[in-house]
Symmetry: C2
Subunit: 297 residues, 2 copies
């Protein structure tokens, strides 16, 4: 038995008449009679008790009628849900972000949620290498990561580059200016730097920049998580250098930030997702949101 027959049966049971039901279904009466008969033959039972020209449901028919309503609405609702998911209006998105890029994601989601109230999120956090692997494993669909990347099997939407800033404990006095430091000022400052668990990343860029300025940085701590670093700064353990937006997202009390005068490096970040793979409408829209928000300003 298929759903068409079940719908037919429901209408006949509602109308208690084949003729009326046929009209309601925009079809001729004989095929409807026939389909009901076929159902009865398939089930090997009577669904209707034919009393002259009146049709009354049998016990079995009554039960089927009750269940049919439920089954059919559940079915219809499923189709609606599936369509909505496909339209990106519903469902759970799986997104990754490095901590240092998190402000982009939180800003984008903040905008996105008003336009897509039925979308929920599953977030992954980790360094660029880790998130690349997550995408390859299909654990997440897209991620916002720090450059440089390892693999080239991704579509890449570059977000605008931003300066690095130095963050030091409030109590420290490391510069003659109020809001800027020169590399020379940092010669002996204990530095704690972001460092990926595996692969080359910002760490190497920053260290190289120091060397270009003729200074060997005093790196006292390497850590993959920006918020941990900032917390260490707040405790007075050392200073750190992070992208400006990272600081904006996780600025802590008892810390103070400085621009890096004469710095040639910029922090680069990007939205990445796998090439040649079907991307949900929801993800396509989120990427569009990120692009509109950060790339055309």
């Amino acid at each position: 038995m298929d759903l068409k027959q079940l719908r037919y049966f429901r209408t006949v049971a509602e109308e208690k008449q084949v003729t009326k039901a046929a009209k309601k279904l925009h079809m001729a009466q004989p095929p409807l009679s026939q389909q009901i008969k076929l159902m009865e033959e398939e089930l090997n039972l009577k669904l209707f008790d034919r009393q002259g020209r009146k049709l009354e449901l049998t016990k079995a028919g009554e039960i089927l009628f009750e269940k049919a309503a439920r089954l059919l609405t559940e079915f219809d609702e499923t189709l609606i849900e599936v369509r909505e998911i496909s339209e990106g209006m519903r469902g759970k998105m799986h997104i990754g972000s490095t901590k240092s890029c998190f402000s982009y994601l939180s800003a984008a989601l903040n905008l996105f949620k008003t336009q897509h109230p039925n979308i929920t999120y599953q977030l992954r956090e980790g360094d660029t290498y880790f998130l690349e692997e997550c995408i390859k494993n299909r654990e997440i669909e897209l991620a916002i990561v720090r450059m440089p990347m390892h693999s080239d099997e991704f579509n890449v939407l570059k977000l605008p580059s931003e300066p690095y800033v130095l963050v030091a404990p409030e109590s420290w006095n490391i510069s003659s200016y109020d809001d800027a430091v020169e590399f020379e000022d940092l010669r002996d400052v204990p530095l704690m730097l972001l460092h990926r668990i595996s692969g080359r990343g910002q760490f190497e860029l920053i260290v190289d920049e120091f060397r270009d300025h003729g200074i060997e940085p005093n790196v006292t701590c390497e850590c993959p998580d920006a918020t941990m670093l900032l917390s260490l700064v707040a405790s007075g353990v050392g200073a750190t250098i992070v992208p400006e937006s990272t600081l904006k997202a996780f600025a802590l009390h008892h810390t103070k930030s400085y621009q890096l005068t004469g710095a040639n490096i910029k922090a680069e970040s990007a939205v990445i997702w796998q090439k040649e793979r079907y991307l949900t409408k929801a993800s396509q829209r989120l990427i569009k949101t990120l692009e509109d928000q950060f790339c055309y300003v």
Copy 2:
């Protein structure tokens, strides 16, 4: 979309391959590919992400797959339930009985329940006239009633006739014998008799019998409910005359019963159900049980 397509989809999603799925479904591969394509066109979305020759479910496809399992099993279970109801192996039976015939019903149900453990019951109680109306209104399918009946639109299975017995308070001394009375003994005894709310019934039969013996009965109470009468007897209010089986089902302490010597009337009861109407298998079986239990002994 119909259920056949949903089953196809489920199989393909399980096998992650059209070819294997087609084999499992005992069909050729092209029609299966085509049906999946039709589903996608109808929903206007992709259910599978075609990666070369690999098929992977999209988000929408995943949701449909999850829901499909539920929908299909619910559907199959519904069909099973409907079939069982039609077979009389499941469902709720609507049965009526006069109180005075209740022992037949309780005995029959006691036997029936072991053979039909999934059947439940909805009971109605009242006088014969009332139960006839209940059947006509489709509130119950069958009833066990006292004769005589009013209408002839019923199929009637007569149960064996049984003698009436006199029930009196234990303390009374109304007979010279231990377990029998003659009509003569009852000349002044206060009698409480079953009397239908409407229509002629046993009451008239019993009164006529008294008159045939030249005695005008001293009727002090008319009541439609046998158990109320018996309770009144136990309290010492009066004596009553009820069918033997009624007494068996509701015998109370502090009462004593006597055979009616010289009585020509018998209590008649019957199972009735509506003519020309579809009767559930369960009811057919219960009638058979009653027949086997009481008519062939």
